[in-house]
Symmetry: C2
Subunit: 325 residues, 2 copies
């Protein structure tokens, strides 16, 4: 039985054109879980991770709007909240989908902390935008409280500001051993949601939350290592990874060797905030010893596992001709 | 090694006179965890559960205040969020306290759903107040969206309204088996936070979140059954349970037999919203086959386990003279 870590993209939980009511989100999660159940039916043992961008964005707005009545919680706490929120939705929807398919599996969400280096260069130069767009006045008010960095952005409303935080590299999943224990006993585990809650360790060995966001695919790769996964499946908006994306020369990638993937990444074929970290996560997984990493869309997930589509990143020795275009 | 379920009261996370900043809450949790570590040092194997009233109250205010920008999430989702939030704080503080005491234990929080009966009478006649006090105008606005019940209350601001929800009896912890698995492997598990996320099952066997709040001590008792605990320790504001509380005849209870505890409860010695469910939870635990259930304050927890204080509810055959007053 192959072990697989599935990383669900943001659209698996909230679509871009949706407001994000609980009903909308549950419907999306239900659809995602239907695909996951098909993967379970094919005999895979599954660990699930997921993004949390829109949910944390909403929580940050609510923290602001309610700040006159209740103290706003920091980003690490909002991340923890989103793990509870999304984990609960996936956990519940998956139980229901399994039941409809007469499958019996335990499903659970673990609140997951991911260790990052407090010296990570990201903390010196934060670049990851989070939460809503602010006016200059709002931004200046928030700056007064300290600890927040903003960047000017020009959008349809003119000059606006957005909070930026560090996006440090994940080092280790603190709950990795427990996730593996449950996984080894046949439980479907949901973990490292939103890239995990970033924590740093001080000189005394004390752990504390960091005002940062870890890339969920890079954290998912650490999760795949922690559970000893054979496969790592990143589900996103597109069926494949493309070279020369958005140009006439655009071409979808099928099977890609580790070597080739590293070359493409080095040649800046993939945008840093989007496909870049996904390909990087796949490269790390193959380097670690993984059998195969796949990037595809949610609705092609099963086909991709069957070898019919998606971009497959493979160890060098498995390099061969692309069997589909 | 005795197995113990510890139920932390609300004051273990946020004290009544605090606003609830992340810093304040973390300090409280740190203090609570110092006591828990002393219990671990005495050789007990520990599962932790906790209340979430103030945190969900804050989340509900934030849902309201931000509603013009992002959709308010239902109570079940807010409960899930609070499990992530509080679980993360306990998980982190406990790791740090264990480290300071040169103890090595895995610690993890599980997002926990608790099944309730959709026919529970609580759903017909909701009585549990949650969230803030509203003006008549606010209340009428919220009633328009449907699905919410309010009760009038008279306070220093005159006639105000408060939302009331069902407080159904917990039937089963959906993640019980996984909690037990981890516990049996020596992990300190945090579960069933805030009484668990209440879920109901429809005729098709589908599970969904319920707009309700389960008493955290009654849910904690189910947790104690699920992990096969020997002891159940409820930590609250007072060192003991009192008879004739607040009167001249007030007397603290030491050792109480199951039989006696049931008599006291039947005679309405304990207020329904407060000590009543705690004593009821202890009674259920002893009936289930538990060795001992203790109600005491956080700072007397270790002394109570050592048999020096607290109210101890015991099986009938162990009935004996009170060894302390």
């Amino acid at each position: 039985m192959k072990k697989i870590v599935i990383a669900l993209g943001g659209n698996a939980i909230k679509q871009w054109d949706q407001k994000g009511t609980a009903g909308e989100q549950y419907e999306n999660v239900k659809t995602s879980c239907a695909h996951i159940v098909r993967i379970v039916q094919r005999g895979y043992r599954v660990v699930i991770t997921h993004g949390n961008g829109p949910q944390v964005g909403s929580l940050l707005i609510q923290q602001e709007e309610g700040a006159h009545a209740v103290p706003a919680q920091p980003l690490s706490i909002c991340g923890a909240m989103s793990q509870g929120q999304i984990g609960f939705m996936i956990q519940q929807a998956l139980l229901n989908e399994l039941k409809d398919n007469r499958l019996s599996r335990d499903v659970v969400t673990l609140v997951t902390q991911v260790m990052v280096d407090r010296q990570d260069p990201g903390f010196q130069n934060p670049t990851k935008p989070i939460g809503p767009f602010y006016s200059k006045a709002q931004k200046e008010k928030m700056e007064k409280n300290g600890g927040m960095v903003f960047k000017a952005v020009r959008n349809q409303d003119g000059e606006r500001y957005r909070r930026v935080v560090a996006s440090p590299d994940p080092l280790r999943i603190l709950e990795g051993r427990m996730i593996k224990d449950l996984f080894d006993r046949g439980v479907i585990v949901i973990a490292s949601g939103g890239g995990g809650i970033p924590v740093i360790m001080d000189e005394q060995g004390h752990v504390s939350g960091a005002e940062a966001v870890i890339d969920k695919d890079l954290a998912g790769e650490k999760l795949a290592e922690a559970v000893g996964a054979d496969l790592f499946l990143i589900l996103t908006d597109v069926e494949k990874v493309y070279l020369h994306y958005g140009t006439k020369r655009q071409v979808g990638l099928g099977k890609v060797s580790l070597d080739k993937a590293q070359q493409y990444l080095k040649n800046n074929q993939f945008p840093p905030g989007s496909m870049g970290p996904k390909v990087e996560a796949c490269i790390r997984f193959i380097k670690y010893g993984g059998e195969k990493a796949i990037i595809t869309s949610l609705d092609r997930a099963v086909d991709a596992l069957d070898g019919k589509t998606g971009t497959h990143i493979l160890p060098d020795q498995k390099r061969g001709p692309t069997t589909w275009s």
